[in-house]
Assembly symmetry: C2
Homo-oligomer: 258 residues x 2
């Protein structure tokens, strides 16, 4: 009877853990904001840190997924006034990504499944993820690292599991996520770090045709960090070192926090 | 690790049971169609009938909810090739609706939460129901029976838990659900029954302003059947007997099937 299962009435967060949770402050801030967007009481940071501590034996690199649902209720969309949120904390092994994704960059599939426009839920990492599931079903080729998703207007939004940046000269553009998409923590970090590489950042509408004309394209998430995009369907971009530069900056920041 | 919880990767159906499942053929047909839409293997009708049989002690009137998810997987949107669907069959008490809803009709809230347009998922009763949850959070007044939902274009789609029909003279209009909404079994029954009352049915776009000019409005679902709508926000319709006429036809049909 948990509303997480019945209606996808909850939110989640995925982060790297290696003796301590990477960028915990930012992840917790987003989790709290997402809970607020749905009117769910977010568990305290201390409670979640305790949960992670209990799961984490030793210092091996692993993935922590935190799910917070609105809790149980009767069979009805109506939210019980005293709903007790359910929290689920899962530890899994860190995925093994091919070295080539970091060294040479990645190829993306252009998804036919479009992202719907829903301003009330945009940005929130909620449990209604059927669009991502359907998009991910579109390819099986292991050479494809992720799928690019556009909305019904043909605007570029994100990948199924990553945010995206496109560089045009000195400006890095990342799509406006006010109608679709998920506000990822690594996206936020890159926005903050870009000035260190003398780039300014523009958060705005990005047409698919504009993306094709970008000098460099990269995708990012909290597990793999940053990858250079080399190919999208039949379009390709030449090799570049933008992703490597951001990876270096992220590594420095992580080392300071450790 | 069930994908029903992780991503809302599944479908459901709610029906009345009173010694036998009402309109089982139609419900199973929709469940199967919805599973197909997501690429989930639907459990056989016999398996589900056995499940209901085991839950159902005696002949009391109750509600059966069937959830079918894609099953368990690793933490990834990628669908495992051998995913084993999970089925969950829940029996709950039949809701007690106020007599006045049947005798005098109902008032609806006009929801601010809009339904997104997503043709890939439209019609399917899937587990991604956050829009319905957010819409249902908009009112607490017990005088309100349900909330009317429109899409981003201002087109009328459905209520949070019911489909809708508007009568204009001899024509009954029900919204086209090719971009949003759920194809309900009772909606389908009313479409089939309308000619018995000498009405023709048009499945088409219905603007909110057009709805206001309808002669009569009704909403329907598999639990309460049909209710006459008397009020939507400050707009009201005069008393009518369309809902009562359809209720009578449904009752006759149910009696034949019993």
């Amino acid at each position: 009877m948990d509303r997480g299962l019945a209606y996808g009435d909850g939110v989640f967060r995925t982060l790297q853990h290696n003796g301590y949770p990477y960028c915990w402050g930012m992840h917790y801030h987003r989790l709290e904001a997402d809970c607020n967007a749905l009117g769910i009481v977010c568990p305290s940071a201390d409670t979640l840190l305790d949960d992670m501590e209990r799961l984490q034996g030793g210092k091996q690199n692993s993935v922590i997924k935190i799910i917070v649902t609105r809790g149980e209720s009767l069979r009805s969309y109506a939210v019980p006034p005293l709903a007790q949120p359910t929290r689920i904390v899962i530890k899994t092994a860190m995925p093994q990504y091919p070295d080539s994704y970091f060294q040479e960059g990645v190829a993306l599939h252009l998804c036919e499944t479009r992202l719907a426009r829903q301003p009330r839920l945009a940005g929130v990492k909620h449990l209604n993820r059927l669009e991502n599931v359907l998009a991910r079903m579109e390819w099986t080729d292991h050479q494809i690292a992720d799928g690019l998703m556009i909305d019904e207007n043909g605007d570029v939004i994100e990948c199924t599991s990553a945010n995206l940046f496109a560089r045009f000269g000195e400006v890095m553009v990342t799509p406006d996520l006010s109608a679709s998409g998920v506000l990822g923590v690594t996206r936020e970090r890159l926005i903050q770090l870009a000035p260190k590489l003398d780039y300014s950042v523009a958060v705005k509408r990005l047409r698919l045709s504009e993306l094709m004309n970008a000098d460099e394209v990269l995708i990012c998430n909290s597990l793999f960090g940053v990858w250079q995009v080399r190919q999208l369907s039949s379009h390709s971009w030449k090799a570049g070192n933008l992703a490597a530069q951001f990876r270096e900056l992220l590594r420095e920041q992580d080392a300071i926090s450790a």
